[in-house]
């Protein structure tokens, strides 16, 4: 199975990491995505990506009891797996490494 991490997938994983644990389910993730990026995202699109990430082993999920505000329906809370975290870090390091090799900007940003 494809084990690469796409750009959009990376953003979603980061958001899963950002929101607090209680809110790491599809709907809340779309809300957070909107506030962070200003772009809207349908629940279905988010859900399908989350599902894919879970299949790749980057996320794991578990079902939680629902609350009254969602009509007592259960929700699926996503969490980063160890693999997921490593892939995220690798992705960041890979990019930082690239930035470093770009002197004009690296000096400007002062990352070196």
């Amino acid at each position: 199975m494809e084990k690469r991490l796409g750009d959009f997938e990376e953003v979603l994983m980061l958001i899963v990491g950002i929101v607090n644990e209680e809110n790491a389910y599809a709907y809340r993730i779309t809300v957070e995505f909107k506030t962070q990026t200003g772009r809207s995202l349908s629940i279905g699109a988010a859900h399908s990506t989350l599902d894919r990430l879970e299949n790749k082993g980057f996320l794991k999920s578990q079902i939680r009891e629902g609350t009254t505000d969602r009509g007592e329906r259960s929700k699926r809370i996503y969490k980063l797996t160890a693999l997921g975290k490593r892939v995220l870090r690798e992705s960041m390091e890979f990019k930082t490494n690239l930035w470093r090799q770009y002197p004009e900007i690296s000096s400007l940003l002062n990352i070196a």
Partner: protein, 866 residues
Amino acid sequence: MSHKDPILPRGVQRLLSIFLRDELLDEVTGDMHEMYKDTRRAHSRFVSNIIIWYQAFNYLRPFAIRKRSRQHINPFPMYRSYFVTALRNMIKNKMHAALNILGLSVGITVTIIITLWITDEISHEKNFENYERIGQVIQNVTNNGEVQTWTNIPWPLGEEIRKNYGTDFSRIALTTDIFWHPLQFDSIKFQKPGIFAEPDLARMLKLNMIYGNIDAVDDPNAILLSKSLATAFFGNTDPVGKQMLIEGNMNIHVGGVYEDIPPNSAFTEMQYVCSWESFYSGAGWVKTMEDPWRPNAFKLYVQLNDNATFEAASVRIKDAKMKRISPALQKKKPELFVHPMKEWYLKSEFVGGKQTGGRETYVWLFGIVGAFVLLMACINFMNLSTARSEKRAKEVGIRKAIGSLRSQLINQFLSESVITVFISLLVALLLAQVSIPFFNLISQKNMSMPWGNLTWWIIGVGFTFLIGLLAGSYPALYLSAMNMSKLGKAGRSSSLLRKVLVTVQFTVSVVLIIGTTVVYLQIQYAKNRPLGYNSDGLIFIWMSPEFHDHFEAIGNELKANGSIIEITEAAAPPTQTNSSSSQFEWSGKDPNLSVDFSVIRASADYGKTLGWKIAQGRDFDIQRKSDTATIILNQAAADFMGLKDAVGQTIRWAQQPFEVIGVVDNLVVTSPYEKAAPMVYFTDNNMQNVAILRLNPKKPTQESLTLIEPIYKKYNPERSFDYTFNDVAFAQKFGNEERVGTLASTLACLAIFISCLGIFGLSSFTAEQRTKEIGVRKVLGASVYDLWSMMSKDFVVLAIVSCIAAVPIAYFLLTDWLETFSYRMGVPMWTFAAAAGVTLLITLFTVSWHTLSAAGSNPVKSLRVE
């Protein structure tokens, strides 16, 4: 949750539940719900709805959609298992299976045969390509104060319609009736039925020519022969151009040979077609008629133009005859109309000038009764299945407990019932094949099983499958849906349903019993109607010219050898009339009244031979020469004319005066169901049609006949001695009703048989179910009678309810049926009581089979069960 909380639109929920994978449904609905609530805070309901619908459709993604088939396994072993289980179940419960199969196969057999019969009935004339466009011009005429419908018309009408009303018709053909004429080729002679017709008839019917061309009909001296007649004359050679003789004096040549007209047609009898012209010039009387518009002796067929309709054409030709006839004939107020070919057979009855149906009624009647018989068989099947399956509730419970899916249980029950129905179908096919000859005998048809007809097979198998599904549906859906905890206690609601179904069955049976009894009684009633003459020992012989020439000699010789006591010559046998006339005038007759009296011409011994009863005046006297100018009226004629003292009055017939010398009690001549029609008797010693003989009552019939034959042969050496017993001829008038009666009673018996199978099965089931209860009751001191009445009571109550329901239905239907006869009895009330009694008896008898054996069994045994 506050009550103002907006709720996710139901449509969205439903949409999601349709396509979403089961395990996702809950969480997604939750998310949607939450989102909808949030959106509603910021937006109107409308906008929110649009947003949420968009979101829902956005879930149409591969990962979320339910997989259609999760069953990747080969389903075949599963079905084999159903099949095996079903067979095992049948073998285990042999009686139950046998009852089911027996009942169903009888039901299906009845359906097959009735369907065959109906198909045959509605197939009449359908072989003709122009079936939809052909019609016959017939007329409503007013006679004796009532409107009658006559299918024959006067011959000049053909030309009249063609000239002045031809716009609606593409073809018009005037014809004679189909009648027996002698045909001759060399020394081969046959007397066969055929027709003289204008050329368009053959074209209208699109006769399929084997030899020659259909255009031969334009040749006035040509004859078209049917295949079978041509073969009889010429073998299998092409006979076109061969010279033949018809009517002993007309030379014609063969113009062609056509394929025999199939049975089920008004033209089936017709074996040849000759030209109208040869008839017109050959039969002198047509040309020399005083008023050709008077005798209604011909038929007129038309074919509509493509854009014409029967209704419009009927309106247009309505007065075509009225405009051309003499004032005397106008009194009849003839109204013409076109009777479409597709109605000739099934809708041929007219009362008071209005179409009232005809054989169509019987098609409906038997169709409905057949459907009921099948329904009853299905009801049995359902009842027995539900009764059994309650017993199988445990099995269902266990199957459910070990993880059987509902769909598997449904399949299990459905396949069992479908298998049972198919076994029944096989048995039914066999039964139908065996019983068809008997049915043909009753219905006077020539039907056979359509083994090679694919449509029949498809419909039959499809229908059988449907019955299996319907009959199996109740136990399948009901039992499989039940909660496991309830499975042990099944029974309440389904037993009510069973009761209703049994009641329906019995109601139908009781109606059928009453119906067949009344049909039988009505036929008997008409059979026992006083004939007005003595039919015993009366025979008639169709005369040859030789017979007529030596009539007196033959009569004297027969009387001398003691074989007969009376003999007379007449225009028609006592069971028929063959002429009628409107040209009667009497004093006090309303000048505008149109009459049509049957006319019977016979030698003066007619009354003496028949043994009629003179009510007033005297009989004809052979000694008085003046009796050629006298007539005798029947009572109906005297009453109709309003003559108090008819005897001695003068009545004019065709301007000639005749003295009434007697009035005779009404004789039943035509239909035994109709009221007597006015008749006038003339003496005429020149009638050549039929000789009526009264056998010597002191001699055995057979002996008399052997004495007659040599004398007959002496004067008719070329002819065989053919005679008809008058009571046989009379009995033929009941043929139709008797056929219907036999069919109806057969169906009634089958219906009762099926109902009995049903309660037989149900009572065995009850007895079995209550084995323990009966044992306990016996131990506590209940007698066999107590137990028997306890168990029979339920069924008897149902039977009584059915009888109560059946009485008004039967009364209504039968009163309606009896209305169609003028000579009828009232609906006898005792038939209702008798039918109810018989039903109760049959019920008790059937039920007792099981209840008695259950009640009589040793409680030690029944209590030891399990």
